[in-house]
Amino acid sequence: MSGLLRREWQVALRAKGAVINPVAFLLLSTTLFVIAAPDTVSSDAAAGILWTLVLLTQLLALDAMYRRDFDSGVLEQTLVGSQVPFVAVLTRIFMQWLSTGFIMTLAGPALGILLGLPVETAPAIALAMLLGTPALSFLGSIGASVTVGFSRGGVILALLVLPLFLPTLIFGAALVAAAEAGSSVMPQVYALSLISLIALAIAPFATLAGLKISLEMQ
């Protein structure tokens, strides 16, 4: 149990830059965006743009989520005769969120300002991402588990999970927009929390099933 968590840590640290990189990518794509479409840098669209880029960043990270373990056979060992496959999967998902969603949450407010959001909305951005990103990791994990066996999983994965990300995207953007308009954000808070909870409820089982299917492909 502790062994599982520790390993995730070690890998995260060992696979250099795995932690800093998502933020770097997010920052990078935000920049591209503003450069390509400077006129969009108006606070009304900023929230939506930010969230879209968060989704795409998450997508990029998800593709690598299980691939190493699949290729090295670590996945087989995780599922065969293990006492705690469920825990193992949960640990992995949690670490994935920590190294993407959580980090992005920390960077989110700064990027929002970069995109022209008023400074006052910073807490709202952080809140929205804190509540929303877990859903991305949980749902994404399902897609990643099913596509890990494919040679060109990347884009198929995108097709599978992006639709699932849609609600998070909408409410996340709405929360920030509401905060900006000065109206209450509670509805969006409830919505995001609910989505994340549902995702949490189904993800581990679905992921386990997906991984089993992928392992049968060899």
Partner: protein, 217 residues
């Protein structure tokens, strides 16, 4: 051994791929202390059978029943970024034991890669990685081992160690099923041969309309 339930029983089992059986039905019951050598030409279905017994391949007819097993496939299941000790810590974590540094080092000593204990696995040679994987078996509490061509990449001395480890495991009341092409130097062995069907056509027709597929797609 009477009265003791077997650790693993196969009964008329046939693994299937693309809807056709791979080999003539096999039945065997493996008891504590047995070392079973799984033989057969390339493509006979050894790996598939082992994966089936490990629960990694669900397309089969017939039935099998067995205790928790330790599976060692073609892919070693070591995390290349981690050192052997870190890999072990994770592995015993899977069995919900907590690690014992001493045992880990002894195991590495036994398989002759103690000097690599603190080096990431992807910085080792093929044989050294195999040796690390071997050391891991010694830490497992599972009594049934399923090994797929464990001799691969091992030099003479390591092959000797492998044989000893297997024998000891059997004497300690474990059982080993091992797919291999070159026989291990082990005295007491049972051998399980996978007979390929004479011709593909003889395969049990499960939805014969698919019979072409194995050649086309």
């Amino acid at each position: 051994m009477l009265g003791v339930p077997p650790m693993l029983t196969l009964d008329e089992i046939v693994c299937e791929r693309d809807g056709r059986g791979l080999f003539a039905p096999v039945s065997i019951s493996v008891h504590a202390g047995d070392y079973v050598e799984l033989m057969g030409p390339n493509g006979a279905g050894k790996s598939t059978l082992l994966r089936t017994l490990a629960g990694l391949h669900s397309r089969y007819s017939g039935a099998f029943d067995g205790v928790d097993c330790l599976f060692q496939g073609h892919r070693l299941g070591l995390d290349g970024l981690l050192t052997p000790l870190e890999n072990f810590a994770w592995f015993v974590g899977l069995e919900d034991q907590d690690e014992d540094r001493e045992r880990c080092l002894d195991a590495l000593q036994r398989t002759g890669v103690l000097d690599k204990a603190y080096q990431p696995c992807n910085e080792m040679s093929a044989g050294q990685q195999r040796r690390v994987a071997m050391a891991r078996w010694l830490l497992s509490s599972r009594s049934l081992w399923l090994l797929d061509e464990p001799l691969t990449a091992l030099d003479a001395s390591a092959q000797q160690v492998l044989a000893e480890i297997i024998v000891e495991h059997c004497q300690a009341g474990g059982a080993v099923v091992c797919a291999t092409h070159s026989e291990l130097p082990i005295a007491q062995k049972r051998s399980l041969k996978l007979e390929a069907f004479q011709s593909k056509a003889d395969g049990p027709a499960l939805g014969g309309d698919q019979s072409g597929e194995s050649f086309q797609e």
